[in-house]
Symmetry: none
Subunit: 129 residues, 2 copies
């Protein structure tokens, strides 16, 4: 369900965070679902438990997960759940998008390339949950 690349340039915990975010966004993980223990997921992926723990903590801080010592970690957010008028969230998201787009432009990608890229990603995100 989750896959990471040990040779990638992006840090392992970032890959985990992105991957888990993607699973939640796609509806593969719904509110109340339990996540594997850090040791198990770490063993499955062949990495250290701290790395998994860090990813869990970041998502916990972001309000997507909830961890309790001795019990485990569960999803507390879901796609359907709207955060309502959280302007702060919106601005953070907008900043992330702006950074990604600026990065794309700096990399020399044409506007058309970026737009088709966006379109494909949007389709992927909203296809058959």
């Amino acid at each position: 369900m989750l896959s990471i690349s040990l040779v990638s340039q992006v840090p392992l915990h970032d890959q985990l965070v992105s991957g888990l975010r993607g699973l939640i966004a796609a509806g593969k993980l719904a509110r109340g679902d339990e996540l594997p223990p850090v040791r198990q997921l770490a063993a499955d992926l062949g990495i250290n438990l701290n790395t998994v723990a860090r990813a869990y903590r970041e998502l916990t801080d972001a309000g997507l997960l909830a961890s309790v010592r001795g019990r485990g970690t569960v999803v507390i957010s879901s796609v359907e759940r709207s955060f309502g008028p959280k302007v702060e969230e919106k601005r953070r998201v907008e900043a992330a998008i702006a950074a990604a787009l600026a990065d794309a432009k700096i990399a020399g990608l044409s506007r058309e390339t970026i737009e088709s890229m966006l379109e494909r990603q949007m389709e992927r995100l909203w296809k058959t949950p």
Copy 2:
């Protein structure tokens, strides 16, 4: 002609490499064109000369530039030559965009909201070159 972001997550020298690659790929920099001295470009961008030197060196190693002590740095590649390595850049950028979009969906933003957000950002990026 070149712009970088000091607050971006991607390293400065990587931004420079991407930017220069983009300029060469777009034909803004042709074979034989001289690049600014490392000190000048560094001063213009407000960064250290070593960072610029590193970018130059990486592109020199990649066969796009040629540097000579005391003389300067020139472009020795043409557009088609610089098209190859762009694929890696594209994939990296695509991953960043995918993460940002997943983030946006998680935040509870509707598809329409995200799309208008994207449109606005794209307009802003390409309004005055």
